[in-house]
Amino acid sequence: MKAVVAENLVKTYGKKKDLTEALKEVSFEVDKGELFGIIGPDGAGKTSLFRILTTLLLADKGSATVDGFDVVKGYKSIRKRVGYMPGRFSLYQDLTVAENLEFFATIFETSIEENYDLIKDIYSQIEPFKDRKAGKLSGGMKQKLALSCALIHRPSVLFLDEPTTGVDAVSRKEFWDMLKNLKKQGITILVSTPYMDEAELCDKVALIQTGKILSIDTPAGIVDQFGKQLLAVRSDKMFALLKDLKHFEGTEDIYAFGEYHHLVLKDAFGENTIKDFIQSKGHQKVEVVTVKPAIEDCFISLMKAS
């Protein structure tokens, strides 16, 4: 049995004139124990999707199951067995750290002691502050408390909606390390993120944009589908280089990518022709190398194709 199945989910908001199609026939499956990433920018439909799967929102069309239960008919069973960490901090600010955790344990008819082993690695980091009000915690500590509360009833499927948005690079790494450890405990994890580089940390990813899934595969599989030669290019005048390469006849696409520009090469053009072109435009210190596409390259290519 699959942990999550979504079939042709459709969700729209508003009426005729300003109708927003948040989800346009979204379908995917998540295996048990999988770390599944939903990767896409703001407005892609990530939160609507999570709210439907956690039974907090009804889809207009389509169906979905979580742990074998239908999200409409079996909502009570689903609520008992999923953990959900919304994008916005939603614990009780006026309760202390310990009281929040106690509260969620009690609601799910369990106790902190019973499942302490599951949250130990995460909760022990904030336990020294257990008498502090949740509202007075730092961003990173709030996140750890929210994750502890979402886990205290030992859910079989964990939904994390943009847990790393607005979080700095160091804390993001720490958070993903925590997820890897949770995965070892057999929990299925669905995590959404706008950061393309996090895709590589998932078992499988769905790339999503304006309510439509662009591609679903393992990170390596998505990269394999890129199917074009990709060059990393640089020179002493990067902005001028970007503008110049728009006019190169072998350019299928050109865009900035960190310290290099990435150029998607049309078939039948080679590395040498481009070097000559760049030098003819008066650039110095020219570097051209073939590189493996990153998930972000794939996302850009899929976005432009759709």
């Binding site: 920018p41 703001d42 407005g43 961003g139 690079a169 900035a256």
Partner: protein
């Protein structure tokens, strides 16, 4: 364009910004990085004339951050991810509003509005409410509105958070264009690839500026392959967390 010398801000016993000294040149794209809680926002608020420093010296666009905060506000632009435009006003109304706030003439506003609409290819959306625009368009429009009054420097606080990868690049093209026109750019971001697009980058750790150089220079001195690695090496040393 910006000069700071031992600029410091204390809240009670807590030193949020600890004697930072740096300079930003005219037309430069300056990346201001740091982990959450490192003191970036506090530093930026002082530079925008919104918060009085405890000690040290600083000037922005030639104006003193202690005595000439109103002049600073008139001469800078500001945009953040969280707040940028009025959602219930149309595209044109937002531009007229900001132009008016900065005391620009009707003729200037008219001309500039036409220019921005053309540049962003928003002519057909001119009379639409901003809330009906996709996020990416909003962010590009917000940037154009932030430099609508032609400030000498613009502060951008995480301008591309959550934006799709194509729009994120279009946004940076706008930044480059503005820099070419001589507008100085002061920008914070959590995307390390964007740090590479800056002429120089500073990295704050626990209230201090721990490193300041070009991206190439930083990678050399930290023996790192990417800016991501430089950032991790520095930010891991942090002892305090965000609030």
């Amino acid at each position: 364009m910006i000069i700071t010398e031992n600029l410091t801000k204390r809240f009670g016993h807590f030193t949020a910004v600890d004697a930072i000294s740096f300079q930003v040149k005219k037309g430069e794209i300056f990346g201001f990085l740091g982990a959450n809680g490192a003191g970036k926002t506090t530093a930026m608020r002082m530079l925008c004339g919104l918060s009085l420093p405890t000690s040290g010296k600083a000037s922005v666009a030639g104006f003193d951050v202690f005595k000439q905060t109103e002049d600073i506000k008139r001469n800078i632009g500001y945009m953040s991810q969280k707040f940028s435009l009025y959602e219930d006003l149309t595209v044109i109304e937002n531009m007229r509003f900001y132009g008016g706030i900065y005391g620009k003439s009707d003729a200037f506003i008219r001309e500039k509005t036409a220019y921005v609409l053309k540049e962003l290819q928003l002519e057909n959306e001119a009379k639409k409410l901003v809330k009906s625009l996709p996020l990416g368009w909003k962010q590009k429009l917000a940037f154009s509105v932030a430099i609508f009054h032609e400030p000498s420097i613009v502060f951008l606080d995480e301008p591309t958070g959550g934006v799709d990868p194509v729009t994120r690049r279009e946004f940076w093209n706008l930044i480059y264009q503005a820099a070419e026109q001589g507008i100085t750019i002061f920008v914070t971001t959590h995307y390390m690839d964007e740090a590479e697009y800056c002429n120089r980058v500073s990295i704050m750790v626990d209230g201090k500026i721990e490193a300041l150089d070009s991206p190439t220079g930083l990678k050399q001195s930290f023996a790192a392959k990417s800016m991501d690695e430089v950032f991790l090496k520095l930010a891991r040393k942090a002892t305090r967390t965000a609030n």
